[in-house]
């Protein structure tokens, strides 16, 4: 019996005791539905006939959940299966993540017990015999890890497990097996895709171009293997659908993530669309992607210029943290990998760790060397653990107050969540101390310069006083009573590429515009940057003869224009209105008082003049 075994038993007992908490009810009930569909009808059927928004590989996991549950109870017994406190399902669903927790704890213990290999990989400072156990305990008993798997019932550890295993296999010179596992992990948990460029840069720099090309081939083969049921069914396009469905699935500034956008939204990230214009004519989503990409580029550059294990982990940390902090639509759990990756980074930093008692004898010298010390690292680690735990707990109690910890729920205020968001940003920049010891601090200018260039380019029309098509803006509100809004296509194009049609009125064709359907409301945040708006309006050629609509334009809720009732055979009418000082431009289609049948109506060539 080893100390590691005792650690596993202690950690496991804590987790098992928390299983009875019903956690995040929505996640659990969706998993019940999708797991039941998977065991009743198979993987492909589930993807087509449920509202699943997870990548295809995760349907296997749901199938396992369904099958395991069948050992304890009947999933077709409606009254027991769908109860929120269905203990057997809670046990089964949370077991997946708990098993992953155990595996990662073992992986840490195993890997950091390999002293000779660690030395070859760049660990120079002497490791105490208890070091692997301590590191493993810091992970396994970390409240962040426990709340995510045992209380919430989410599978962050299951996802990062694949990435970690793949990374360690690279250190054992097994790039192809590593790639197989890495790509499998990406198809199980989509967030792993963030690591993909960094992962392949490391392969290229460590093993060469030939190995990179072979690894990319392995990736393609793995993709086909994992998606084999879809390949056999001839429905590979559904895989693409599952991999992309989450883009704009929750179009909000922040999905409870305490990040930059949480601050911008004033702690109301889930109530503010990320299509709001935040700078010139750039919306929050685009601005977020530009900032994220800029910092991600720096993390890739760091690894490319100085390829070693230390920088590999550091790049992964910066990449995932930038994703959490700067993209909109970020979930509160996206920063979870930090508490794992930081532990793998630590030994490779080779930081000084003096005796505790002698630390403050020479305070001046201590402070001088603080940023290169182990104390600095552990300060960051503790801060990261507190912030991430607070954020995940907030996400849980925001939806299900009864399932969190009462004391913490009571002290959680909007102000405190904003403070948490600021601290997250401070923490991100605190990692740059480790970057500066590898590459020149001048490189830190790059992400800021790239961000400035990106934002300037997206505002170039405005800066050059050029006309802008309104189609360059994403509407902050887009409601209509039939189909969904089509940009530069007629409304019938919604049913797929085979039905794509150009915008037209009585066979007058237009390249740009919106294909809409009464009754509709399109609202754009044009940010008071334009003076004039012009467009042609009319019924689309594809509409039936009974079509009739009234076009209305509002600026900040004030009516600026209303057309006469227009029918199928009316030629397009030109509209030109003054929109000086208007922030919200609303384009309204009314049904003309005779119902919405056939009302396919277009805003053609809508142009804003600065």
């Amino acid at each position: 019996m080893s100390a590691f075994s005792i650690l596993i038993v202690v950690g496991l007992v804590i987790r098992l005791m928390l299983i009875g908490n019903t956690g995040f009810l929505a996640d659990v009930s969706f998993w019940k539905s999708w797991g039941l569909a998977a065991i009743d009808h198979g993987i492909v059927w589930t993807s087509f006939n449920t509202n699943i928004n997870y990548p295809p590989g995760f349907i296997y996991v749901l199938w396992i959940m369904g099958k395991l549950y069948s050992l304890f109870g009947n999933p077709h017994d409606f009254n027991s299966y769908w109860r929120e406190n269905n203990f057997a399902f809670l046990l089964v669903s949370k077991s997946i993540a708990i098993a992953a927790d155990v595996f990662i704890a073992w992986l840490i213990y195993f890997f950091f017990s390999q002293k000779d290999r660690l030395k070859k990989l760049g660990v120079t400072f002497p490791l105490s015999p208890n070091f692997p156990l301590i590191l493993s305990a810091v992970f396994f008993l970390n409240p962040v890890v426990i709340i995510d798997s045992a209380l919430w019932g989410q599978v962050e550890s299951f996802g990062i497990m694949f990435t970690l295993l793949a990374i360690l296999l690279l250190f054992y010179k097994r790039p192809y097996l590593a790639t197989f596992i890495f790509i499998t992990g990406t198809l199980m948990k989509l967030q792993n895709i963030i690591y993909l460029p960094i992962y392949f840069i490391f392969i290229y720099r460590s093993f060469g171009l030939k190995t990179l090309i072979k690894s990319l081939s392995v990736s393609a083969i793995t993709f086909v293997l994992v998606c084999l049921p879809f390949v056999l069914a001839g429905d590979l396009s559904q895989v693409l659908f599952l991999m992309t469905i989450n883009s704009d699935y929750f179009p909000w500034l922040s999905l409870n993530a305490h990040n930059l956008w949480w601050i911008v939204s004033g702690a109301k990230g889930l109530n503010v669309t990320d299509k709001i214009t935040v700078l010139g004519m750039t919306n929050a989503k685009t601005a977020g992607l530009i900032i994220f990409s800029s910092f991600y580029f720096l993390s890739c550059l760091l690894l490319y210029l100085k390829t070693n294990v230390r920088n590999f982990f550091l790049s992964l940390i910066l990449g995932i943290f930038a994703f959490f902090l700067f993209t909109t639509q970020s979930h509160e759990r996206y920063s979870y990998p930090l508490v794992v990756l930081m532990l793998f980074l630590y030994p490779f930093l080779n930081l000084e760790y003096g005796k505790f008692a002698t630390r403050f004898v020479n305070l001046k010298s201590y402070l001088k060397n603080f940023f290169g010390s182990a104390d600095y690292f552990w300060l960051l680690y503790i801060l990261a653990s507190i912030l991430i735990f607070f954020n995940i707990h907030f996400g849980l109690v925001y939806n299900y107050p009864q399932n969190g910890w009462g004391f913490l729920s009571q002290i959680t205020t909007p102000q405190l969540t904003i403070v948490s968001a600021y601290f997250h940003i401070v923490l991100f920049f605190a990692f740059f101390v480790f970057v500066c010891s590898q590459i020149s601090p001048l490189f830190l200018i790059i992400p800021f310069a790239l961000t400035a260039i990106g934002l300037t380019l997206t505002n170039s029309s405005l800066l050059l006083r050029q006309n802008v098509s309104l189609t360059a803006f994403k509407p902050i509100i887009a409601n209509q009573d039939f189909s969904i809004l089509q940009v530069n296509k007629s409304v019938n194009s919604y049913s797929g590429w085979k039905s794509w049609n150009r915008l037209s009125n009585n066979y007058f064709y237009y390249r740009f515009g919106f294909g809409a359907h009464a009754k509709s409301n399109l609202t754009f945040d044009i940010n008071k940057k334009f003076k004039r708006f012009t467009a042609d309006i009319g019924i689309d050629t594809e509409a039936g003869t009974q079509a009739s609509v009234v076009f209305q334009i509002f600026g900040d809720e004030k009516k600026l224009f209303e057309s006469e009732k227009m029918g199928k055979f009316d030629f397009p009418k030109h509209v030109e209105i003054d929109i000086s000082g208007v922030k919200y431009l609303e384009l309204i289609l009314d049904d003309g008082g005779d119902g919405i049948n056939n009302d396919h109506a277009d805003w053609l060539n809508p142009v804003l003049y600065p």
């Binding site: 098992l16 005791m17 299983i19 659990v28 539905s33 046990l91």
Partner: protein, 225 residues
């Protein structure tokens, strides 16, 4: 000795670990029993189990009598509170309620006689401007008179009576005519104090009339001050 000391220690540790784990699981199980046991269904269109394999029943001009939920007069009644909106009502403890996460209408269904709760909605909040903006800002009675138009199985109004429940909520008791000229259901529409865009809607479904009436009488709207 059949077992050496090292192995014996391992065996004791293993037994101890198993006992601890079983104990932890038992604690978790007991804790789960203390948690709410509502039926929670996932939102949106998704899979809840196989459809009945019974042959489809051809439409007839009469409705089959269905089982009616009832409860003994001495049964304990408990209070349910809306998740989004500040409404509440009392119901018999044995009436198994189902809610739908992220449901904007904050609806409550009940599970009874193997009927899918999604077609057994007991209460929901109707937002008039979402359902039909033409009735925004108009008297609620106008909305109630036209409510049947939103459902393909209904074709007209049989009668609408105004009333007030014990909690001073002003309501309308409506009976609508279905496509086969029958009036099997009662729909209740309560006005929401201070908000004429919202209506609390209740449907009797297959509840015993006395139970339904008592639920209707207990409906309250208590916004936070």
């Amino acid at each position: 000795m059949l077992v050496n000391k090292g192995n014996l220690l391992k065996l004791i540790f293993f037994i101890f670990a198993v006992l601890l784990s079983v104990g932890a699981l038992y604690i978790a199980y007991r804790y789960s029993l203390l948690q709410s046991n509502n039926i929670i269904l996932p939102g949106g269109i998704t899979y809840l189990g196989p459809s009945s394999t019974a042959k489809p029943i051809l439409p007839t001009l009469t409705l089959k009598p269905h089982k009616v939920f009832t409860a003994p007069s001495d049964e304990k009644w408990v209070t349910y509170h809306g998740v989004i909106y500040p409404y509440s009502f009392n119901h018999p403890q044995s009436l198994s309620l189902a809610v739908f996460p992220k449901d904007k209408t904050d609806s409550v269904a009940f599970s009874f006689d193997n009927v899918d709760p999604r077609v057994n909605i007991l209460l929901n909040i109707d937002k008039i401007s979402d359902r039909d903006p033409r009735f925004s800002g108009k008297p609620i009675i106008d909305y109630v008179k036209n409510w049947y138009r939103y459902f393909s199985g209904l074709k007209g109004v049989d009668k609408i009576d105004a009333f007030q429940n014990v909690n001073n909520l002003k309501g309308y008791r409506a009976v609508f005519i279905n496509d086969i000229n029958q009036t099997p259901n009662v729909d209740i529409f309560f006005e929401v104090p201070g908000n004429n865009d919202l209506v609390i809607h209740l449907a009797n479904g297959n509840l015993d009339p006395s139970i339904f009436d008592r639920i209707v009488d207990s409906v309250k709207w208590t916004p936070k001050k």
